[in-house]
Subunit: 249 residues, 2 copies
C-alpha cells in the first residue's frame, strides 16, 4: 500500500502554516522551504523540524506540497523531479497534464495567528491519476470532514464565488467603516447588523432576504446616497444597485 506518510512543504505563508501544523499530527513533515527564509525558519521552529534553507536537495518525502503564491506554482513544478508526487493548494491554477501532480485546495481564508477549524473546511481534490487522487483524498480526510472532487473548471468557479463572498464582502465592510470614520461615527454600531445579515444568508436564501432601497427601487433615497459617495465607492454603489434592481424586476 502506498499512502502518504511524509511531506516536504514549499511555502511558509498562511496556508502553509495552517496546513503544515495540522498535517504534522498525522504525517511526518520532513522539511519546509520558502523563498522567504525567515518565515520558513519560524515555521520549522514551531513544528520542531530542521529548517531547509534551499530547495535542493529535496528531503525524503512521499509528497511535495506547494503552498506558494499562484505565480510560483508552475515554475516550481517544472523544476521538481517527475518521480515524486506533488500537490498544490491554489484555487485558480489549472491542473497541468502530469500524472504526478494534483490539487489539494482548502476553501478557506487563512490568516496569521487566527485558529481555523480545518475539520469543517472543504478540501477540493483534482488529479490526472486515480492512485494520486486516493492518496490526496486520504490525506485530506485526516484533517477535514469535507473532501470533494472538483475539476479545474469547477474549482475556478468556486474560487470566483469565494472572491465575491470573501474578498468583496470584506471590501464592502472596509467602505462602511470608512464612511463612518470619516464622519466620526462608531463603526462598532454596524456589527450587530453585519452579524444578522450573515445569519440571514446562512439560514435562508439570499434571494429571499434582500432588503433596502435598491430592492424597493426607491429612487429618491438612491439619489441621496449617490450624492454622498466618492468616485470609486459610487461605482460600486451603482453597479450593485443596478444588479439588485434588475434581479427583482
Amino acid at each position: 500500500m502506498s499512502g502518504i506518510t511524509s511531506i516536504f512543504v514549499i511555502g511558509a505563508g498562511n496556508v502553509a502554516q495552517h496546513l503544515a501544523s495540522s498535517l504534522a499530527h498525522h504525517v511526518k513533515i520532513t522539511g519546509i522551504y520558502s523563498k522567504n527564509g525567515e518565515n520558513a525558519k519560524l515555521l520549522s521552529k514551531q513544528l520542531g523540524i530542521k529548517h531547509q534553507s534551499s530547495l535542493f536537495p529535496i528531503p525524503e518525502c512521499d509528497l511535495i506540497l506547494i503552498c506558494t503564491n499562484d505565480d510560483a506554482i508552475l515554475p516550481l513544478i517544472n523544476e521538481l523531479p517527475k518521480d515524486i508526487k506533488i500537490a498544490y493548494t491554489s484555487g485558480s491554477i489549472e491542473l497541468p497534464n502530469l500524472d504526478n501532480v494534483g490539487v489539494f485546495y482548502p476553501l478557506q481564508t487563512f490568516s496569521k495567528d487566527r485558529a481555523i477549524d480545518l475539520s469543517k473546511v472543504p478540501f477540493l481534490i483534482e488529479t490526472n491519476k486515480d492512485s494520486l487522487k486516493s492518496d490526496l483524498k486520504n490525506l485530506a480526510n485526516k484533517i477535514s470532514h469535507k473532501v470533494l472532487d472538483a475539476n479545474s473548471e469547477e474549482r475556478k468557479k468556486i474560487h470566483l464565488a469565494a472572491v465575491f463572498i470573501n474578498n468583496f464582502t470584506n471590501h464592502l465592510a472596509f467602505i462602511s467603516k470608512d464612511i463612518l470614520q470619516k464622519n466620526q461615527l462608531d463603526w462598532e454600531l454596524l456589527l450587530p447588523l453585519l452579524n444578522e445579515t450573515v445569519s440571514k444568508i446562512t439560514d435562508g436564501d439570499p434571494l429571499n432576504v434582500q432588503t433596502g432601497p435598491a430592492r424597493r427601487n426607491d429612487t429618491s433615497i438612491i439619489a441621496a446616497h449617490q450624492k454622498l459617495l466618492e468616485e470609486d465607492q459610487l461605482n460600486i454603489y451603482n453597479s450593485i444597485t443596478k444588479s439588485i434592481i434588475k434581479t427583482y424586476n
Copy 2:
C-alpha cells in the same frame, strides 16, 4: 413627569412587528393601524389588542410610532394632529421642523419570523425639542442597551454604511450562490468561508485582512475571472476590484 406609557403604532410590517412586540412588555399599545389591513389584524391579534381598521379616530396614546415605508412618513405626519408626540423609524428621512416629531431608528434588518435581540440593537434618536428627546431615549432604553443621539446628517451616513454592509453583502452572497448553482455546485461549501470572513471583519480591521487577487493585483487571475461573468456581475466585479487595487497601491 411626562414619559411615554401608551403608543399607537402605524404600520404592521417587520419593523412594526418587532418593535411593537418588544415595547408591549413595557408600555400599553393602544392600537395598530396599517394600510395593509390583514397585517394589522394579525399583529393586533398576536399582541392581544383591538384591531384599528381606520387611521381616525386616533386611539388615546402618548406617542404615535410610525413604522411604515419611508414614502408614507411625511404625508402621515401632515395628516396627524400636531398636539400628539410622533416618532418614526426611518434611517433616511430628514427630521421635519416640528417640535412634536422625532426619530426612533433601530439600526438593524428585521425579517418576519426571525427573532432579534433588540437589547443589542443601536437606537438612533433625533428631535427638535429636548423633552421629546428624553422621552424617546427613555423609551428606547427600555428595550435596548445602546441608545444614541444622531442628527439627520449622521443618520443618513449610518444608513448608507448599513446599505453597504447589509444590502450589498447580501447581494454578493446571492451572486456567489448563483455562480455555484448554475454549475451544479453546492452553495453550502462557501458557508465556512463566509463565517470566517465575518469573524475576521468583526475581530480586526477590514483594511488589514483583505486578501485575494485584487489585493495582490494578480492581473492574470482577474482576467480569467472576468471571462466567466455576465454583464451585471462583471460590472460589480470590476468596480470592487478597481477600488481594492486603488486602496492598496
